[in-house]
């Protein structure tokens, strides 16, 4: 494999820069394959970046789906070791409220234990001590090893490691065609939205990791995968109300999980089927917001009086099982399709279904199949090799190694990048000055992201660093970050449009919850950008959010 080859020839091409694609790229690269990862937008733009960020213990699935529960708890324990800087070991509670059936608790605990999940019934008073924001009326509580995981960081860390192992990553590159020779897929044709150029890449195997959009990729190959897009809406609150994941101890339903994630917390989700044609245009309705608030308030009453920063929705990539001709029977587990045996299409496999939690296992399965097809006997090592940044988890220890007097911006940087923060220049006053004040993102960190983390615009930058994710939603930081991007790209016009897009993207999330302080904030932002900065244009008012 190591012989000299042309630049556009690889061992494996992976389509889709979500967590599954990133994980598969890492695994393949670690096993010595020449990897090309292709993403049509930015990394983690689909379902990967649009969920709870819950490090499932598996307890939620224990009663209804034993297999998923077992996968979750195994992967949960692995991620705690390999992705320390992406994971917060918060613990979780499943609380029973007076309106719930306390009888469910026994069945729940029994199922958890059977799946290998350490579920422990605790006294409601102890539960309130553990998480003071929980509804004080709770009548039962079970402690489980839930946690929080940052999907953007996790994806980025997988991509970094893939690249460290020689993988090539192309973002903003859309697969327009699969190249077919006879019954074999031999490569892809790609259109790069930034360079506006098309190119061809070749590999004996192409992996479809396109999530919900994988249906289209499969169609290009001539295969059919029946996806059932299910929309899930979530609300982001302005600060952490809880430090322990709160779940309702009942059959999984709407808005029954409250997850603390970095500086915020999230309530979700709803679940509604949407036509496939709408998957690129997700928005949150007023009814969904009401539902999330109504149910969220039951988990933690203070949510009723906590500022909401924004609302967003994602699409779960649910897949119809192959053995059900009606297509109604949905698989919740991992779906690995070898299109050679299934459809007679060689050199093409699809990895789909599954969850953020099981991405590593999905990647392992997919990579095993790739290796089998390429006759490579290397074993998977992703379950015990820490991701870049996770070599050391102690923030204070890391910061003391590097800086004499680490301040909050230094510590925040380490919190986001783990040990990789040591590569970030934060020496002089300019480097440590802040771009994003709410999340404490420094000039040095933004420079690092632009130079090393495939950042092409402000939205990408947000996913890598949390610039613009804080209370002000870009009010103070977007223009500063735009200035740095303009320097990096040497193009003011491009950055001006980027800034408009970014502000509109922030507004899209604020619109469904735009009252009270969020409304004041958006008015103030508008005043800054149109009044002070003179940023005007037809796109300034987004009409798509009816």
């Amino acid at each position: 494999m190591a012989q000299a080859r042309r630049d556009n020839e690889f061992d494996v091409i992976i389509v889709g820069g979500g967590i599954t694609g990133a994980g598969t790229a890492r695994d393949c690269a670690m096993r010595g394959l020449r990897v090309l990862l292709i993403e049509r937008h930015d990394l983690a733009t689909g379902a990967t970046g649009r969920n709870h960020g819950l490090l499932h213990s598996g307890a939620r699935y224990a009663v209804t789906d034993r297999e998923s529960a077992e996968e979750c708890i195994r992967e949960n324990m692995i991620l705690r070791k390999i992705a320390r800087h992406c994971v917060e070991e918060t613990e979780g509670l499943f609380i029973t409220l007076p309106e719930d059936d306390l009888g469910y608790q026994a069945k729940f605990v029994e199922s958890c234990l059977a799946a290998g999940i350490n579920a422990e019934v605790i006294d409601p008073k102890d539960a309130l001590r553990m998480e003071p924001s929980a509804n004080p009326e709770l009548i039962g509580a079970v402690k489980v090893p839930d946690g929080a995981v940052d999907p953007f960081r996790l994806t980025s860390a997988n991509v970094i490691d893939a690249k460290l192992h020689g993988a090539k990553v192309l973002v903003y590159s859309e697969v327009t065609k699969l190249i077919k020779e006879g019954d074999t897929i031999t490569g892809v044709e790609v259109y790069n939205a930034i360079t506006k150029e098309s190119a061809k890449y070749y590999a004996p195997i192409t992996v479809n990791a396109g999530g919900i959009w994988g249906q289209r990729i499969a169609e290009m190959a001539g295969a059919r995968i029946n996806m059932f897009p299910a929309k899930g809406a979530l609300l982001i609150f302005g600060h952490r109300v809880n430090n322990v994941v709160l779940n309702r101890c009942r059959k999984p339903a709407n808005a029954d999980i409250l997850v603390p994630g970095d500086t915020i917390c999230l309530i979700g989700t709803t679940s509604s089927r949407v036509p496939f044609g709408e998957v690129d245009n997700m928005y949150v309705t007023a009814d969904e917001v009401d539902l999330l608030l109504q149910e969220g308030e039951k988990l933690a009453p203070s949510l009723a009086t906590t500022r909401i920063l924004r609302a967003y929705a994602g699409v779960r990539p649910l897949v119809a099982t192959d053995d059900d001709p009606s297509g109604r029977n949905i698989s919740r587990g991992i779906v690995l399709l070898d299109h050679e045996t299934r459809d007679g299409i060689k050199g093409f496999i699809s990895i789909t279904g599954g969850k953020l939690m099981t991405y590593r296992l999905m990647a392992e399965w997919a990579t095993d199949l790739v290796c089998k097809k390429l006759n490579i006997g290397k074993a998977c090592r992703t379950m015990d090799t820490p991701l870049p940044g996770s070599e050391n988890e102690n923030i204070e220890e890391i910061s003391k190694q590097t800086w004499a007097k680490p301040g909050t911006p230094h510590k925040a940087t380490i919190g986001r990048h783990g040990a990789r923060a040591l590569n970030i220049g934060l020496k002089d006053g300019y480097d440590t000055s802040l771009v994003c004040e709410c999340e404490e993102v420094s000039v040095g960190e933004v420079k690092y992201a632009i130079e090393e983390l495939d950042v092409h615009n402000l939205v990408d930058l947000r996913r890598r660093t949390r610039v613009g994710m804080g209370t002000c939603q870009g009010e103070l930081c977007a223009c500063r970050a735009a200035g740095m991007l303009a320097d990096a790209h040497q193009c003011t016009e491009r950055t001006k449009n980027d800034l408009k897009n970014f502000i509109n993207e922030r507004w899209k999330g604020m619109y469904p919850v735009c009252w009270s302080d969020t409304l004041r904030e958006s008015e103030y932002s508008q005043w800054i950008y149109s009044g002070v900065c003179g940023l005007e244009g037809p796109e300034t008012h987004n009409e798509d959010n009816k």
Binding site: G238, H239, R240, N243, P260, D262, T263, I264, L293, Q294, E297, A304, T305, T306, R307, I308, I395, E396, K405, G407, T408, K411, A412, G415, G429, L434, E437, C438, E440, G470, T471, C472, E475, L476, W515, S516, D517, R520, E521, Y524
Partner: protein, 415 residues
């Protein structure tokens, strides 16, 4: 369902819309680049601290707790409280010996008054100042307030207590450490002014230091003990004897009213409205026509009034200046609102000395330019700072009133 009608978070920090006007009004920001400013130290930093205590930043110690950020905030965010509460909650460093000495105002006072002449002389000596600077970290440029050889309480009990019952109306006086140990004359002035307008003055059953210095030096357990004792006495005064509690120190009054509930988590709702500053109390009863003030015919003074930061926060500066303006011979100039830089024990600390003087500089310059007869101010630490940094004496408005009033005629008018 009252969902989302109000967004209430601790100290209203979620109401911050990041306008940053607090940082513009912070006196520390322009002179100390190490301080991240109230917005970042307060509502911004709080979100990270809620995630994990390790995000606490040591530089929060540069906050003087002047609360000017809160006065400036258009959204009602209690920024100063957020910062102070974070210091109390997350700072793991035990207080230094120096801080314990500076904060223990009543303990040090009760020891020092017993040997006042020796103490006053000793702490004024250059070698002692040098030693305190080097060993303790109390800046050598500082002049320690002089201790009185007899406390105000002793004077009160011996000389005036007996006839206070003879008045028809009554108030309790929270004298504070400064009046008791350093400057009993202010307490004496208050008694003569209140007596002249027909009010008997009483001490609380038990009075401890309000605790402001304990709070700012992180000794909350002791502050809470003091608060409990003070509030018990205040409740007795207000509820059992129907006597409101007045003070002559803006900071003590502010602490009793606002820092107790906000920083110590002690509920004082039932008595809070009955704790006020003597100048506001007197202004109010004069304005309501309940009492009359008769001034000396020949009193003349050019007075520059400095509004202490906590007075700005209380919004009570107007009562002191309007009271002073009632004096026919007084020409009152209100100085531009500017922190004097001392902030209680803050300015005594060696590491803060230069910042402290830099903050106060515009104020000192304005006073020097104005050349008043003296400066009036409701805060004792501002007094020390201004007297040390300018050539002008600083008097409490109550002392000015005592000088300007024709006490005999006033007594007659209020019989």
């Amino acid at each position: 369902m009252n969902m989302q009608e109000k967004n209430i978070s601790a100290n209203n920090f979620e109401q911050c819309i990041k306008c940053t006007v607090c940082t513009v009004y912070c006196p520390v920001v322009p002179v100390n680049p190490l301080y991240p400013g109230p917005k970042q130290a307060g509502p911004d930093g709080e979100r990270l601290r809620l995630k994990k205590g390790i995000y606490f930043d040591d530089t929060l110690k540069y906050c003087m707790n002047c609360k000017r950020c809160e006065v400036a905030c258009p959204s009602g965010v209690r920024i100063g409280d957020i910062i102070q509460a974070a210091r109390l909650k997350y700072n793991t460093q035990p207080p230094k010996l120096r801080d314990m000495i500076l904060a223990s105002t009543d303990l040090m006072g009760s020891i020092a008054t017993k040997a006042a002449p020796i103490v006053n002389m000793t702490v004024g000596m250059k070698p002692v100042k040098a030693a305190m600077d080097g060993v303790l970290g109390i800046d050598k440029h500082r002049t320690f307030p002089k201790y009185s050889s007899r406390t105000f309480e002793k004077w009160f009990n011996k000389n005036v207590k007996a006839f206070q019952e003879s008045f028809n109306r009554h108030v309790s006086f929270f004298h504070g450490c400064f009046v008791n140990y350093n400057y009993p004359q202010l307490g004496k002035d208050l008694v003569s002014v209140m007596n002249s307008i027909g009010y008997g003055v009483h001490l609380l059953d038990k009075e401890k230091c309000c605790g402001v210095a304990l709070i700012s030096n992180g000794m909350t357990d002791r502050a809470r003990k003091n608060a409990a004792i003070n509030l018990e006495s205040i409740r007795k005064s207000v509820n059992e004897r129907q006597m409101p509690v007045i003070g002559t120190s803006s900071t003590c009054s502010f602490t009793l009213r606002d820092e107790y509930p906000h920083l110590l988590g002690i509920n004082n709702e039932d008595v809070r409205d009955y704790i006020e500053l003597a100048s506001r109390f007197i202004y109010r009863i004069v304005d309501e026509g309940k009492v009359k003030l008769v001034f000396k015919k020949d009193y003349k003074a050019r007075i520059a009034y400095h509004t202490p930061c906590h007075m700005e926060k209380l919004g009570w500066g107007i009562f002191s200046t309007e009271l002073l303006r009632m004096i026919p011979g007084a020409e009152v100039t209100v100085l531009e609102s500017n922190c004097c830089g001392i902030a209680g024990t803050y300015g005594f600390k060696k590491e803060n000395y230069h910042v402290s003087q830099a903050i106060g500089k515009p104020l000192f310059e304005q006073i020097n330019k104005l050349r008043p007869d003296f400066v009036a101010c409701d805060c004792e630490t501002c007094k020390w700072q201004i007297e040390m940094s300018t050539e002008y004496a600083v008097k409490n408005p109550i002392s000015v009133l005592a000088e300007a009033l024709d006490l005999v005629a006033t007594s007659e008018a209020n019989k």
